[in-house]
Assembly symmetry: C2
Homo-oligomer: 283 residues x 2
């Protein structure tokens, strides 16, 4: 079976994150930012980008880093006491636990800014650079991920709010972003919209899986406090539909996603293998 991401790619990706942050001015936010960013996380979004590429250069690593940086900032802010109030993330104490709330807020801000800086100061050709930034900004902002975070906290404020739409925004937008960026970086920008859509479905898939793992999984593997969503009385797919219907929905989504990918791509192996890896995750 073709490996979705080679070890060498992952090592070079980690080096990119290190390079991008090691020369920042000495300050608490720098320490916190590197604590949160380096050597942790499943790197799913970068790996989704890499699955489109046969050759990954410095600039492609930077675009993938920018997306992972956005994802990391969103976790830091989500974990704050005013939001999800989580003590553990990626198996380590959360940023506001290790530092303090003020540093956690500023660290999130610094990372969001750094994501844009990273692509802006890359050597991508101008048109491609702007397109990557537009895709990133549209998905990360108030029409994307942040809308999902708002919907997650205030589900009653939305006329047509279903958990599915919230998952599509909160998690799906950045996964759609990853696939759309993969299309642009592999010089197939005409496929970006279709893959944006596939990625959004993958986000829904991922969140339903999270809801199921929250009930059935091992907290040491999940890397955050077990039952933390239940503790916060959040609506989850499992709570609303029950475990069996949630599992059925998961299977249907997988079939839909993999069928779509196989229809569009000539060589879908790497992306399908990566999605299978996600499907089979235990945490």
């Amino acid at each position: 079976m073709e490996t979705p991401t080679t070890m060498n790619e992952l090592v070079r990706f980690e080096e990119t994150l290190d390079q991008l942050t090691k020369d920042l001015p000495v300050c608490q936010v720098k320490n916190a930012l590197r604590y949160a960013l380096l050597g942790a996380g499943k790197r799913i979004r970068p790996r989704l980008i890499f699955s489109f590429l046969t050759k990954i250069g410095e600039d492609e690593f930077k675009v993938a880093a920018a997306l992972e940086i956005i994802h990391t900032y969103s976790l830091i802010h989500d974990d704050l006491p005013a939001l999800d109030n989580d003590d553990l993330r990626r198996g380590k104490p959360t940023v506001h636990k290790v530092y303090d709330e003020a540093i956690a807020i500023l660290t999130g801000d610094a990372l969001l800014n750094l994501a844009f800086e990273t692509i802006l100061f890359s050597h991508l050709e101008e048109k491609k650079k702007i397109l990557c930034l537009q895709i990133l900004a549209r998905n990360a902002g108030l029409s994307g991920m942040i809308l999902g975070q708002d919907q997650d906290m205030y589900p009653d404020n939305f006329q047509d709010s279903t958990i599915r739409i919230m998952y599509q925004n909160k998690t799906g937008k950045l996964l759609g972003c990853a696939l759309a960026l993969g299309c642009v970086l592999s010089d197939q920008p005409q496929l970006a919209d279709q893959f944006q859509n596939i990625g959004e479905n993958l986000g829904i898939f991922f969140q339903i899986q999270d809801d199921i793992l929250e009930i059935t999984g091992d907290p040491r593997l999940i890397g955050k406090s077990k039952d933390s969503d239940l503790k916060n009385e959040k609506k989850t797919y499992v709570a609303v539909l029950g475990l069996e219907r949630a599992k059925k929905e998961l299977t249907d989504l997988y079939d839909h996603i993999s069928a779509q990918i196989k229809t569009i791509l000539n060589d879908p192996t790497r992306l399908i293998n990566l999605i299978n890896e996600i499907k089979n995750r235990a945490h």
Copy 2:
């Protein structure tokens, strides 16, 4: 005397902020974002940009809006209980007082993202668009304003930390950004670095003035709780150097800034008039 900014420019600027935010998805963050952004603030940064322009089109208004949006996000996060814990801003209750802390955090995030989106989806020519974004990102991030926020909270962590350096980063970087953007939008990018530096000095000027007004000013005019910095036991210029030396420093900085501007610009009238307006402010 030539008016630094015409009423018509300010009206069109407010319309730009309204246009940029009115079609965002319906949610709490949208409400909070418009509450913080619209119809308040002195709009100093946009007006600094406008002082370079003889004709202001839609795209120039958008760049100025992006900078004001960044400034507004920084105020919302600065006002949070974990940071400055301020109840009043621009004469109104702060965002976390009207909404809650979670919404205030997400609203700051959404604004920071929106600033980049605004320029990215403008119709500026590609080279100019990227240059504006680079100037914005470099000044707003951890090598700019956020470093200043970190230094403001943890002054003891910096070997060579003086209040002046903190002011230069926290306030100066965005004012430098305004002047540098003015240079780029008026097709004088070769002047951007010099004006970045002038703007950073203007930031130091502005902050020392704030410290003085904090002691001598009327809290109803200042628009935030009087003595809030003293309450938080922050070091201020006045506290460290005394009122008289702070006033002397202010005069010296003004002379330096205005001399520099008059040396560089053929027609410095608008910018000098605006700086005089800042110099003569009572709040």
